[in-house]
Symmetry: C2
Subunit: 330 residues, 2 copies
Amino acid sequence: MADVPLSLDDVHELAFTCLKTHGCDEANANAVAGTIMAAERDGAASHGLFRLPGYVAALKSGKVNGAARPTMRTLSPGVLQMNGDGGFAPLSHQRSRDDLAACARTQGIAALAIINTHHFSALWAEVEPLAAQGLCVFAFTAFKPAVAPAGGSRPLFGTNPMAFGWPRPGRNPVVFDQASAAMARGEVMIAARDGHELPAGVGVDADGAPTTDPDAILKGALLPFGGHKGSSIAMMVELLVAGLIGEAFSFEAAARDNNDGGPPQGGELMLAMDPGRFGDADGWAQHAEGLFEQMTAQEGVRLPADRRYGNRQRTLKEGITIPESLHATI
Amino acid sequence: MADVPLSLDDVHELAFTCLKTHGCDEANANAVAGTIMAAERDGAASHGLFRLPGYVAALKSGKVNGAARPTMRTLSPGVLQMNGDGGFAPLSHQRSRDDLAACARTQGIAALAIINTHHFSALWAEVEPLAAQGLCVFAFTAFKPAVAPAGGSRPLFGTNPMAFGWPRPGRNPVVFDQASAAMARGEVMIAARDGHELPAGVGVDADGAPTTDPDAILKGALLPFGGHKGSSIAMMVELLVAGLIGEAFSFEAAARDNNDGGPPQGGELMLAMDPGRFGDADGWAQHAEGLFEQMTAQEGVRLPADRRYGNRQRTLKEGITIPESLHATI
């Protein structure tokens, strides 16, 4: 089957219409469609239209509130809480961003606990707009158990990404977004769909035996990246997005979930810091460029997110293509 | 040669006297000796008496101020800055701990930027006392270039540890402290001293070729743990402890350093969060125990720091031993 060409406006329209048809109101459909469009724009297919059937399943089953109205509370001078009203995460992000930025500028450092949402997208898209406003930003979220703790054999941690953004006034921020799993579950799903084998070390099958078969890993467990160090980070993410903010650990989210194919209910933590309030208000931006120059002076080294920004330049002009099978499903 | 047995009091006394003899005043000698004793107590020999010759070299060369008087400033409601007055880091930690804890309790989240110190010890010993006070804590620091960025071949990042602590009222906190390098430089130094080979993947020699020889790696570069993900974390640590707070990147610290064998001048960032201010004031402690139960229910899985706490129980009773060669040097 041939691939189907789409402009980025087409992607947004397709996602928006599909979500609106299946139970999202305009504000929620618009926010989720923006997230899907951003993923396709940056070449991150595993968080793009590929996820739309999952979003729709979660609306159809009634698990997710398509008309959610997130509400904000201030828990302490440096801590905000956004209650997502049982909706998808993107609207909560859209509506908490300016408050988090303002709090970080006033306090120097601020935290945003997002609770009662369903998160199904990439963290970089949430970090980048805040970094583009001049803030240094962390984001963490969990999911359903997919990753075995180091030394273990059964899934306990979610793929538990952590993302980080560094502002570069006048340029795209440096952003990385990486799962604590050896590979993102979305990538394993894509490999399963396309029938590709995976490298050794990505996961184990349901009996705890190493395998390179993506289907077997989806039934078994992913391994953390970097052995026990990645496992520590996966545990840390659980503690930040569940223990600290009173939301569900991955294993609790799974127990509550109806397994409709859409995202479970869970939490997210963001931290934002204003480099202008940390002791080097005038010099920080120029100073950091010195590090990036040292990095890129080494052959073979590139800055995190540079590939995404490259994809973006291309897709803004040329659009994207998606498999005809996916287009037909949507 | 036989090993020399020492009680933990002996360790403290030996370190204190040695530091005092070579230029530390009482407050600084006491703080550094406490750090060295804690490392030996917890079985972390690479941060214990093994480092004493380096501390002394830094005092003898005049690089480090043995009579440092750290001073605290409030940079914004949630950001404190401790200026270490060119001394070793432990006194700055001792004297900023209560202020950081108080700020975190008031603001919900607080940051501490430590500048103008010489850091030569482990982060867990700085995280644990704050976690024991009921706070969720991060710490980050850099060093001199030792680690090549992913894809590169020359040292640029320090070994750049990040540590995290989670409070468990009535129990020892969960703490991890891990270098962004595939192995801590201290461990490579120990292997070089003892003539042990290292596993593949730890580093490259001065020509960028993979090697298992610790001496060759000390002349070449360590690799980040977990490939490009560990490299991103090493970069993040540089940005937090230098770019954000106006201190030296590892490559800048090396350029300034006199290579006397002691620690270079540099910065550290700590973040502290009060779980009582994040939305689950009554339930957080009990809730997190559920995750730890799930982890330890899997055979082969243990909580970070459990080995150190086990060593501590033993050494508090039995003391430690150090190689006679090290004892003679001291």
